[in-house]
């Protein structure tokens, strides 16, 4: 029998859980947790899509389409969001962990466990943002947890706005969490870890900002 990583406790008590994680030889129930979180992610994206979040593109067709066709559009749009939710979860769980695995000498499964906690944080952010979006009309670029508002208020260039709005308190939390865990489970020096983490985060932030700025969904 292996050790089942308590993900929620892992968020609250990174110190205890990270030391526990280091000691364990094998982990159990990991795939179940992965599957559960992927489903949770699909659900969160589905709920978000149900309220139409992100469907500004679809709203353009409101005038051209009949009411039923318009709802159908949003339905398929929502289906696309759910699929993205699944893909997003898979990307967050496996890609960074694969990247860390190449750089630090840690078992891949342990890295996945850490990324599961990261995904949990990211999904929490998305859930919290749904009511704020609906009541205050604040979209992704203007999330109150991000630097996007400051960037917009200072009239920064568009790309910088996208980049800064991708940096949120929750993203910083994930970075801190990853650092805390990696510091314990790996033998690497803190400076190296910070460098690696900042690098990966910056990479993803820039990629997402670029994707946002070219508005991929409009190309289709």
């Amino acid at each position: 029998m292996g050790y089942r990583v308590p993900l929620l406790r892992g968020l609250k008590e990174p110190y205890t859980i990270s030391h526990q994680l280091r000691k364990e030889e094998s982990l159990s129930g990991l795939w179940k947790q992965v599957l559960l979180l992927i489903l949770l992610s699909a659900l969160v994206f589905g709920v978000s899509a149900f309220f139409g979040i992100g469907s500004e593109q679809a709203s353009r067709s409101l005038i051209d389409l009949s009411r039923s066709e318009y709802e159908l559009y949003k339905l398929f749009f929502g289906a696309g969001q759910v699929i993205w939710g699944i893909v997003y979860a898979i990307l967050v769980i496996f890609v960074p962990s694969l990247f860390f695995w190449t750089l630090v000498e840690v078992e891949y499964k342990k890295l996945i466990s850490i990324q599961l906690m990261v995904l949990l944080i990211l999904l929490t952010e998305k859930i919290i943002n749904i009511p704020i979006f609906l009541f205050l009309g604040i979209n992704t670029n203007s999330s109150i947890f991000s630097f996007g508002i400051i960037a917009q208020a200072s009239a920064f260039p568009e790309l910088l706005i996208y980049t800064l709005s991708a940096i949120t308190l929750f993203k910083i939390w994930t970075l801190v969490l990853q650092y805390k865990y990696l510091k314990v489970v790996s033998e690497r020096s803190p400076r190296f870890l910070i460098l690696v983490l900042l690098g990966t985060h910056l990479f993803f932030v820039i990629v997402s900002a670029l994707l946002s700025s070219i508005h991929l969904e409009k190309l289709i």
Binding site: G52, E56, Q57, K74, F76, N139, I150, A153
Partner: protein, 404 residues
């Protein structure tokens, strides 16, 4: 909490406070997306301002028939109270006996005169032959004809008789006329109804009017209060709904009496009668005296643009509504409003027919921001799902997939 945790919590709160402050202060610069709950389209329709009233169905016409002694003796009624009558149905008749009798008298009188005339004529011819005999008699020369005087006398007699004949002629003519009129009276012995309707009353004691017929066609009558009469006018369109039904019948105010129903009194409110003509095309199968609800169209705006009253938002500088544009954005539009009836507001200027407008006021009033709407699975139709092309399904799904 450790001092580290406190510092962290403080920093987070500060950061959020800073963001929220900026959100309100730099409202114009912050991108927003409105979540739209409800929208509707600008409609073109007729706006009717109506005033309710109560009325009662009454016969459109009431026709009275009088018994006249001069026409003849009364014979009897042909109908009973409550009978249905058509135009031309006999109601009552006069007895023909009197008239036949008079007619016979006239005939005798006429015959007598004709005899007299004949006698006179034969007398004339006698006189003429006498005259001829006298004038042909032999006359001695240088002697005055003794017959000349006789002839002259005869001539005067003949003239007198001829005068008498012509007098008798005119007498005969008079009697012929009288006989003719008696014949006519014989034909007009029956009094007929001039309208389709029902016999309302019959007076067996022959007090006039002996028969009253009410028409099947109906009108609506009612009374206005002093306030109501000021708003109403003759010729106004009216919708009539019999109580307990949902039929809507058109009518027009035909007459408003401008004197009150009772003697005006300072302490009581005066009431004024009115009547409504029902449009001919409408068949009302209701009883006389049945109550109806009446809506009088006091103001009518034809073919005007309307929006629900809740879509109109008041601001300091005027009235606004929020319009969904083709580019998927919401625009604030200034509008000029007209009359408001119930929850429908006429818009004179600012919007176009068919434009989509929001029913709510988006938070942080601003124009030209994108919007989103929640899914409403109830509005989906299976038919459209079947008709949707695979290509579009893929397109919509991938847009959803790629959207952030």
């Amino acid at each position: 909490m450790t001092w580290k945790a406190r510092l962290l919590a403080g920093a987070v709160v500060l950061f959020l406070a800073c963001n929220i402050t900026l959100l309100f202060l730099k409202n114009e610069k912050i991108n927003r997306t409105y979540h739209v709950d409800e929208w509707t389209s600008v409609k073109k329709q007729d706006l009717l301002e109506t005033m309710p009233a109560r009325g009662v169905l009454a016969p459109k016409e009431e026709q009275h028939f009088y018994y006249e002694n001069s026409t003849g003796t009364f014979k009897g009624f042909l109908v009973e109270k409550g009978d249905e009558v058509q135009q031309g149905t006999g109601l009552f008749e006069y007895s023909p006996d009197d008239i036949t009798l008079t007619k016979e008298e006239f005939q005798i009188e006429k015959d007598k005169l004709e005899n007299e005339q004949e006698n006179l004529e034969s007398h004339i011819s006698d006189l003429e032959s006498m005259q001829r005999t006298l004038s042909s008699a032999p006359v001695e020369e240088d002697q005055p004809n003794p017959n000349v005087y006789m002839i002259q006398t005869l001539e005067r007699d003949i003239y007198e008789k001829e005068l008498q004949i012509s007098r008798i002629d005119s007498e005969i003519e008079k009697y012929e006329d009288l006989i003719e009129s008696a014949d006519e009276s014989l034909l007009n012995l029956t009094v007929e109804s001039e309208i389709d309707g029902t016999v309302k009353s019959i007076k067996h004691d022959l007090t006039n009017p002996v028969v009253t017929v009410i028409s099947n066609e109906q009108k609506v009558t009612g009374v206005f209060s002093e306030q109501e009469i000021k708003k109403a006018a003759e010729g106004m369109k009216v919708f009539i709904t019999p109580e307990g039904s949902n039929k809507k019948i058109n009518g027009t105010i035909e007459k408003i009496l401008n004197h009150p129903t009772s003697v005006p009194h300072a302490e009581t409110e005066s009431r004024y009668e009115f009547s409504i003509a029902i449009d001919e095309s409408n068949e009302l199968e209701s009883f006389h005296g049945e109550h109806v609800d009446v809506r009088i169209v006091t103001n009518e705006v034809m073919d005007t643009l309307t929006v629900p009253a809740e879509a109109v938002k008041k601001a300091k500088k005027g009235k606004y509504t929020y319009v969904i544009q083709t580019n998927g954005r919401v625009e604030r539009k200034k509008i000029e409003t007209g009359i408001k009836i119930n929850q429908t507001q006429e818009v004179k200027e600012g919007v176009e027919n068919g434009e989509l407008i929001l029913l709510e006021r988006p938070p942080f009033l601003k124009s030209d921001f994108p919007f989103i709407t929640s899914m409403e699975p109830k509005k989906l139709k299976k038919k459209d799902l079947k008709e949707l092309r695979k290509k579009d399904m893929l397109k919509y799904t991938s847009r959803g997939f790629l959207s952030r």
